[in-house]
Symmetry: C2
Subunit: 332 residues, 2 copies
């Protein structure tokens, strides 16, 4: 695997520099520039939403800082959580006086740092709520949902919570909505090839020439099974079989669907997958609203894809349709 870079240890900072030059609506702040905020600053009276996580997943996490979405992001090294000091800085930058929602993927290191940041800032009088997205059904059984990792479903939760905050809702209301969006969302991924973490120069995992790992996490965390690559339709069917049951969908229900490339897998193949997903949901009488097919949460050049499904109610549907704008996504 080959990468276009200069110094591997400068990968993240040079990426952040390029991103903020290309998108002047974002800027770097914090001690080492590892916090991405909106250039126009916090919105007075609006609940601020902060996220954070390792680099290497663009557009996740920092790419969703924008209008109708997030206010700030604490940025770690590739596949490594952000520092506590940057979580604090992100929260300060996002605070418009109406409190701050921490909204991030459920990973132990991120949680520890965000929790410590909360303790610090609550002492200063900031109102803080926290929701950890845990949509990856492959990462723990349903009975232990709190142990599941956050993957691409995070994007749908960002969108819903961002729109709720933009509507002028209170911190409690935005946090409750984010929790409800998370409860309504399930994801699963399949990985075909690893990616290379620049700082280590090593592949994130190893996998045979013709194999797929079903249920693998976005950092190469072990999945459910590993074996010969199946057809797109068989993969889609099996992904749906893991994602749908907990959502208890009935004929007439509506869902948001995200078919996401982990990086190298091209759009062409996402549409082949989506074709089957739409077919199966259609046969069950389930309506797909505003499907997303593309690269929304990646692992650099990893080949593979994930499927996220969110069960909608009227409010979630309206929030997903509300206008939003960030460097990687535009909803109108």
């Amino acid at each position: 695997m080959k990468k276009i870079l200069n110094d591997p240890n400068a990968y993240v900072d040079e990426m952040l520099d390029g991103l903020c030059i290309a998108h002047p609506e974002l800027r770097r702040t914090g001690e080492d520039g590892r916090v991405i905020v909106r250039s126009r600053g916090a919105v007075a009276g609006k609940v601020g939403i902060v996220t954070g996580g390792g680099s290497g997943h663009l557009p996740v996490f920092l790419g969703y800082v924008g209008e109708g979405l997030l206010d700030a992001c604490a940025v770690g090294n590739v596949f490594a959580g952000p520092r506590m000091s940057d979580c604090i800085e992100a929260m300060r930058a996002a605070d418009g006086g109406a409190g701050v929602l921490q909204l991030y993927g459920n990973y132990g290191g991120d949680r520890m740092n965000f929790d410590m940041a909360t303790e610090m800032l609550e002492l200063e009088g900031m109102r803080v709520a926290s929701v950890r997205v845990a949509d990856d059904v492959a990462s723990a059984p349903a009975a232990q949902r709190e142990k599941r990792r956050g993957v691409a479903g995070l994007v749908l939760v960002y969108k819903a919570a961002g729109a709720k905050a933009a509507s002028g809702a209170s911190l409690d209301e935005v946090a409750a909505l984010a929790r409800r969006a998370n409860d309504a969302c399930r994801s699963i991924g399949v990985a075909l090839t690893p990616c290379v973490v620049p700082e280590s120069g090593k592949a994130s995992f190893e996998i045979g020439e013709n194999d797929v790992e079903f249920g693998m996490g976005i950092h190469g965390e072990p999945g459910i099974w590993r074996g010969a690559l199946k057809t797109a339709d068989a993969l889609a069917d099996e992904m749906l079989a893991h994602v749908l049951p907990e959502l208890a969908l009935a004929r007439g229900d509506r869902v948001a669907v995200l078919v996401n490339s982990l990086g190298a897998t091209p759009a062409e193949e996402l549409y082949i997958l989506y074709r089957r997903v739409a077919q199966v949901l259609g046969e069950r009488g389930i309506g797909i609203v505003r499907p997303l097919v593309g690269r929304y949460a990646t692992s650099m050049e990893m080949a593979g894809a994930s499927l996220s499904v969110m069960k909608l109610d009227d409010e979630l549907e309206a929030l997903l349709a509300a206008p939003a704008e960030c460097p990687f996504w535009s909803v109108r």
Copy 2:
């Protein structure tokens, strides 16, 4: 290289099905559904713009059918040109009575079929103009510009011509604008890994573990040199050294810049490249307007990147900024 698909021979048609289900503003038409048109049909009185080309390059070509962009696209198999009958069908579908501009990348097979389609339809009284985009500086010397291939610069020309047509300009005016945009645009690519053409199951080319091919085309056409992969900054400098001279830029000039992934190369690395491009242009006093960094013209899972630069005048700048909307891109 692994691909998510069912029958390799159904790759294109299943992709088109999925795409049109996900984006109901597009639909398949033509004898075998190999023409993509806007569902709402041709716009009466507007110059229609048609394109065409092989599959495997999403969002190019068909992905740019949309508001303020293209009206129809004739779709070939992966890396294979569209049939003449589909070129004809695309032109008929795009014709709103004000004539049709054929706007496509300069490849021999595509040209032959579009030229034959023109002869047929002119006999029926359709007014047709044709502009072939030839932005790839690596594919022929400046003295033989008409032999150069079209690569990612096509996207900028689509955008400018699409906005011109949407403004109500005549066929002659839209064609002249498209020619001017093409004349103002230069591109070059670097390839790090091949992709697999599904129908053949074979890699598009072979390249050593640590090598890059500088100037390679999007189907694996030979480039300028092959050797050890350089740093991102060195690649950017060399790409600029090939792209800039023919544009004769002076301090105070403005350009559009597109840093494009050929597929697997992640957004992170595009921003590292863009950082250097912006640095060099900034030092020369050249202003970058609305930079594009992302996947705009790919070769499925090929790793690599391309750089396109278009020298702007006031009209081109305004046309690139005009509202547009297609499944892969939104300008507002």
